[in-house]
Symmetry: C2
Subunit: 629 residues, 2 copies
Amino acid sequence: MQFHHNGYVSGDPTIQPVAGVGINRPEELPDVVDVLIVGTGPAGMITAAQLSQFPGITTRIVDRRAGRLEIGQADGIQARSVETFQAFGFADRITAEAYRITEMAFWKPDPSNPSNIIRTARAIDDATGVSEFPHLLVNQARVLDYFAEVMAHSPTRMTPDYGWEFDSLEVSDGDDYPVAVTLVRSAGEHVGESRIVRAKYVLGADGARSKVRDAIGCTLAGDQANHAWGVMDVLADTDFPDIRTKCAIQSSPGSILLIPREGGHLFRMYVDLGEVQAGAETSVRSTSIDQVIEKANEIMHPYRVDVKNVAWNSVYEVGHRLTSRFDDVRVEDQGIRSPRVFIAGDACHTHSAKAGQGMNVSMQDGFNLGWKIGHVLEGRSPESLLATYSAERQVIAKNLIDFDKEWSSLMATKPEDLADPTELEDFYVRTAEFPAGFMTEYAPSIVVADRSHQSLADGFPVGKRFKSATVRRVCDGNDLHLGHQATADGRWRIYVFAPTDTDGIARLRTFSDWMLESPASPVTATPATADVDDWFDVKVIFQQDHTQVDIAAVPRIFRPRVGEFQLVDLEKVYAADPYNDIFAARGIDRDGVVVVVRPDQYVAAVMPLSATNELGDFFAPLSTALTLH
Amino acid sequence: MQFHHNGYVSGDPTIQPVAGVGINRPEELPDVVDVLIVGTGPAGMITAAQLSQFPGITTRIVDRRAGRLEIGQADGIQARSVETFQAFGFADRITAEAYRITEMAFWKPDPSNPSNIIRTARAIDDATGVSEFPHLLVNQARVLDYFAEVMAHSPTRMTPDYGWEFDSLEVSDGDDYPVAVTLVRSAGEHVGESRIVRAKYVLGADGARSKVRDAIGCTLAGDQANHAWGVMDVLADTDFPDIRTKCAIQSSPGSILLIPREGGHLFRMYVDLGEVQAGAETSVRSTSIDQVIEKANEIMHPYRVDVKNVAWNSVYEVGHRLTSRFDDVRVEDQGIRSPRVFIAGDACHTHSAKAGQGMNVSMQDGFNLGWKIGHVLEGRSPESLLATYSAERQVIAKNLIDFDKEWSSLMATKPEDLADPTELEDFYVRTAEFPAGFMTEYAPSIVVADRSHQSLADGFPVGKRFKSATVRRVCDGNDLHLGHQATADGRWRIYVFAPTDTDGIARLRTFSDWMLESPASPVTATPATADVDDWFDVKVIFQQDHTQVDIAAVPRIFRPRVGEFQLVDLEKVYAADPYNDIFAARGIDRDGVVVVVRPDQYVAAVMPLSATNELGDFFAPLSTALTLH
């Protein structure tokens, strides 16, 4: 975190200086905005938080609710989401208040007395160390609170506009603000009054019953039947010994997924109520909380759960359904027009809650989209960038639904019907990378290069998220996670892993000069009024011990001058951590490698240090200022 | 952090439910308070933050400033202070915004060209791993902000009362509120108006020129002469390669202590201006910032420091001075009357800033005093407890001044005059535990038992702070630092390290029954209306793997029922961390050991599990309800 560089800042340095549209930001929703987001759930809020970092862009986010969400339904936070929170600056704080999953227990009927359940297995969460981040459980309302804080502390000082419900929209291509959105007052004095807000882009993050989705002619397709669970967040007196452990409990009367929750006492139970057949919806939906508690006690025999307080409960019915596209460009118009309206989150994909995926995948939808809209609106990139959102995320949603179908049907299978008694826990352990959020691998496109140089850095697979490792900062000897230095500020990252040969510094200087001076370099597109690292954050990592790096000899691109006083930023120069060499840990070629990482943390390209032409060619289609080599 | 246990809490769980005097807390300073603290510096604020946790106690803290401190002079945060911040809940956040010291560089004249300086040594900070917490640099203003937040989020919803200057006080023993303090309005509309506030106890944390100190007849004694430095917090363009590393620079023109600061660019320099002789004060004090910068450039030759912005600068003069007592009980009255007025921090001890100790020792003064006043006012403990404050802290201040004299005179010695060329860095490395804040070792008293059972737990020296180690929580398999589960809530901690022999559980049950039922047990003094763990937090640590602990068999004292629904708290039962066995790491006898830790984290006693009589006898003088065995 850099601050004080334009003069001493007395207060909280996480509150960024107000700038751009944040100065004199109107409290009332204006008639014309750059981006209108519908829905303050996880997908909408992360997109808003990302766009709030662009001082020149007016983004507003509306919700039909009268105010902040008090209690949400989602609670599973996969490690990839915590990694994302780190980029937004609140991973440590939400981790401190969350429940952390370290293992999962499996309970089944006691073979010698099948009316009693016993613990049959424990599985370590993330036994393979796929991430340095934890797997958490915390109410969705708190996740939204943190994103709201990020927005409020951003240069644009954003806050949600509550009490507006989406009604309809119309797109008139050719207009400066081509999307006309009709909103209706849903809270406050003027309930029912409607108005029109015009926008350049609209995001529908308005949930499974999305009206934005309907307005752009998308439909959810998939299962006909829904599966029903009784869900309850409760406080209870119980003799069940694993009440503070995540458990899958399967016995003859049915199955339970037990989710301990933050704060030391609250827990959630999903009690299986079975498939809902057509015509039986009403009776399932009328299942009372007492019936759910009774069923839970039957399943958990000989243990008892004496519920003392119900924080929230519901009968939860959902099928596996997916939309075929995430924007308003029909198949026949692809490549002809660019999207103006997007959808994200539950508006695109619905599935069971049992794998704890929904909120997480929804946030990655928004993280994928936010920077792309930002770059197009700022004139950094052409509109063609926007087509990659639907292309990238629709595949992920399909994978999610396939995974969740398998997991939830296994969860619902009676123990005696499993092919193998350990099938459930085996599946859980085998597939761990997927629910942790790290199986996403984007296909080649204008934002993902081909894999022709992958062997230069096997540990940074192109298309997957940049897996951080520790390095030592040269200027102050601090051991830091390299990836954690990349905040969600919309910048591209270019990591240069330096060669050690005798002309290593000379080769770095050649690279630096090209980056700073070549018309083919992406950096030269940066406006002259901005700091040289405003669009591209370029770091170097040396192989030698930090005491062996002469920081005064490091080329200019890695020591940019910044801010009002044009001071030298020394924090972009790293050395290998002597206890965990990143070159060895990530299989990085020692002859000099460039790794390009997108603003949403996905590896976009791996190439040799000398391949500046390729680097220029990769960025040319992403820049309004560059042309192909 | 336990929450939701009295029902779902929607918002930030670090904001505690309002209670006691926090309900309808008057905004205006009342005429009568329990505790009046003078001065919102580090010593005053930590005491206020500690007392804010006691819902029944009215504490107010006044300052002559009109509002929050904008920029402070202190910036060194030793690991012991970060440990303390952890107990108050903000260690992670302040660490994230601070500069972290990992090493110190020593620069001296180049032997082959003495007009140039060269780096002659680097010393690792905390090379011996005395603490799991970092050594930080961050402006004092931010430390105060965090304590203010702790107070505001406490049950008592405290905020400082700015704009009141201390004038005088009078103590009338026998009164319910025996201290009458005259305050004068120092800011706002009514400047100059005075009023009287009556208090049970008063703390003067009003700095080196403390008027409270004068009012109780204490004086600072020590050096006659002051030492002067030019101090500046600046932004600069420089070619000095270690500008982001803490450095001691010594050359013929003088010496500099360079302190990098938070935010990546700001740094502080202490430029030595020498001893101030009587009569020369005026000329030293008139040293201009330009002269200080010029001197810095002379010392650092051949490097240059081109200052672009001065955040703060001063000519700083201070001697080594100490008060003989920290309260208003004169030597002849010791044991006859109890103190009513205390002093802390710079009011008691002044010394150089170069060892980065002042703010840290001041906070430990306050942390030592806060809980003692709280326990006496709540009726838990007799007034005799209060005499231990001056007795314990005066010795520490004396040690500090001795240490600082040696360090600052070494820093001021010209390289050619040192007995050994590496004398400075050797001293720095050899004495690391002292400036890190961990050499404090309180002598036996009513709050520190004798060392007769020390061999049962060599790694927890009686009288020193409880050095944490990781353990695994049984109920959820989380690896946690045992010490970090002890927040600054004013409670005593009793850690029971369980035996493994076959009757281990039976012996724990005997202990548990005694704790819960014996009239000699400290726990039985807890009011019947409170939870059983409100005054004493009793935890157990098993030697075996967490999967081998049957939590259902753990005796009641370790699984108390809490809150409105009297739910069982399962989070007090731990097992050894399989990768770092606390029994081995801290030399704990495997036959069962009890470790008693004070609310300010100091080890008060070590004894065998069976020694319940001794445990009762230790607490008897500390309780208004117990008598000696």
